[in-house]
Symmetry: C2
Subunit: 339 residues, 2 copies
């Protein structure tokens, strides 16, 4: 067995993270905790929220301290168990952080049945990103048949499910993605009604043309310039669930230029908008079982598709994560830590 490794936060980023903010370290082999599990990480999930944990700003979660292992969820194999109901060889999800081996002694833990589908889906469409899409769209957005739902990062794990669930609700789904390849995938394979490349110089005009009846739900996961194009298209009583702002995560402070807040607030007022920030965990206890049932069924009968972007080797997690923040991944970003 190779030496256990872990990746720690070496320093806090100023704006966009660089390789220098991370450090790969050898780690001692963890011991089986009393009543717990000894885990070997198979796949590590990379998600935009991790950028927030690298800062020490007040947020809904504690930041990672300098020298601490980067946080994250993974799919693991149980190497040893002192917990009833769990046996060597079982596959679980746990919040191990960025490492090859981990001791589990408490916290969220989910047992997977590999016969029910690829285990990696538990980190994507059937995991946190999927439930983020489901809860934001279905509980806050509440799309009605005939309405228009717009989502950015539409080829990613959250956006792709938002659009596909919107279609299942009878709504028009318009996706925003970076580049013609992702846009083709969003329309051809995910069956959105339209996809707009946010890199196109006439992006705002194309978005407007794709939403002839305005926008009733804008699922906000990016922020920045896309919001400026969406705002004038929002209909009265439009709903804006906000689960992420990846475009501004690297902003080190207030940006210069025009203050766009008054325009946003004026539109909130004149169109009776609802803007609602949320973290998927708020809705878990009540809605998670329905989510798993509906999305599993959709995958089973072919109405829900998803895509993964897998990078090999824990040591490549920092580079893959920096690429994720720039939209370089195409599908759910995962690190294959072990086979």
């Amino acid at each position: 067995m190779s030496t256990p490794k872990q990746i720690v936060l070496a320093s806090r980023p100023k704006g966009t993270p660089t390789a220098a903010n991370f450090r790969v370290e050898d780690a001692p082999m963890p011991q089986l905790p009393s009543g717990g599990l000894l885990l070997r990480v198979l796949y590590l999930s990379l998600d935009p929220y991790m950028r927030g944990r690298m800062d020490d700003a007040k947020s809904y979660a504690k930041p990672v301290e300098i020298g601490e292992v980067m946080q994250g969820e993974s799919v693991c194999e149980v190497l040893a168990s002192d917990r009833p109901g769990f046996a060597k060889g079982d596959i679980v999800t746990a919040f191990t952080g960025w490492r090859t081996h981990a001791a589990w002694a408490g916290g969220p833990l989910r047992q997977l049945d590999p016969k029910q589908g690829p285990i990696t889906a538990a980190l994507g469409v059937l995991g946190m990103p999927g439930f983020t899409a489901y809860s934001g769209l279905m509980i806050i957005g509440k799309p009605k048949a005939g309405e228009t739902v717009v989502v950015a990062a539409a080829s990613g794990p959250v956006g792709s499910l938002v659009g596909q669930l919107a279609k299942m609700a009878g709504a028009r789904a318009v996706g925003i993605a970076g580049g013609p390849g992702k846009c083709r995938y969003v329309v051809d394979e995910l069956h959105f009604d339209a996809a707009i490349d946010h890199r196109a110089p006439d992006f705002a005009a194309k978005l407007a043309a794709s939403c002839p009846k305005g926008i009733d739900v804008y699922f906000e996961n990016v922020g920045g310039v896309i919001w400026q194009a969406v705002l004038p298209l929002l209909n009265t009583y439009a709903r804006v669930p906000v689960c992420g702002l990846i475009a501004q995560y690297n902003a080190a402070g207030p940006s210069d230029g025009a203050n766009l807040l008054p325009r946003t607030m004026r539109t909130v007022l004149t169109r009776s908008l609802t803007i609602r920030g949320f973290i998927n965990t708020e809705f878990g206890p009540e809605h998670y079982p329905a989510f798993l049932k509906i999305v599993s069924a959709g995958i089973g009968d072919g109405r829900i598709h998803y895509r993964e972007d897998i990078t090999d080797g824990l040591e490549n997690a920092p580079a893959a994560f920096m690429g994720l923040l720039q939209g370089k991944n195409f599908g759910k970003a995962l690190i294959r830590v072990a086979q």
Copy 2:
């Protein structure tokens, strides 16, 4: 009888309205419409929303056209009636606009019983401003006992009722007002727990000190710098009903300086905030009777107080309205058009 008068929009304001944007005109005496009413205006209501109608920007209501009579609601005496159930001498509220005499042929109309209290209350605490406070606070804000509710323009018709209803719900009420006189009134007569003068140099620090457990509901009716002081104090799951933005109504375009939108959106995300624009009419059919009952009872038993700022003479409406936009009124702004 003196010649009927009316006030029309002479030109659209660029930023802050000036006297040149209004024109007082003689008007023909209106005729009694078939099935309608001939009205003599007693009191005209001046409200911040009227500033929006002076622009031709897209909003929830059509703008006033150049040369058209300024819109507004008033308390009137019926001079002649061709409508069953209404007789000469009755007192009603109607959307007459800024004029001394009007023909009513349709639209909202409410018969008042002068024995049930001052007729002017129908333009304030028992009218549109009151229902704006009630619906925004009770339907969107949903204050719970022990929570903290903050409202600006706290001596005005909306803010004063927001705070008093918050107290009745068991919440802590903190008001923001302009100047020591208004602040004393808010605490001494309206019985808010605290009042902060937004003109104080250490306003943000004083607001924070008055909200030791943070803010759970911020009733937004002003926007601008007050929002910047409120934002860092908002608790997780705080609700922000937005009924007005008087501080920015006169802004002619995007302001320079720092772009404050990313900070707001980041807080929406990290604190799971709800920001919800609304117009009171959205909630009328379902909630108006309960509003009238609760607020009438509160006035009757002394738990709800209100204050009026009455200016004599229709010709003084433009100056009084410009003062309203600068916070110079102290209480509900009304024009006494006739005795």
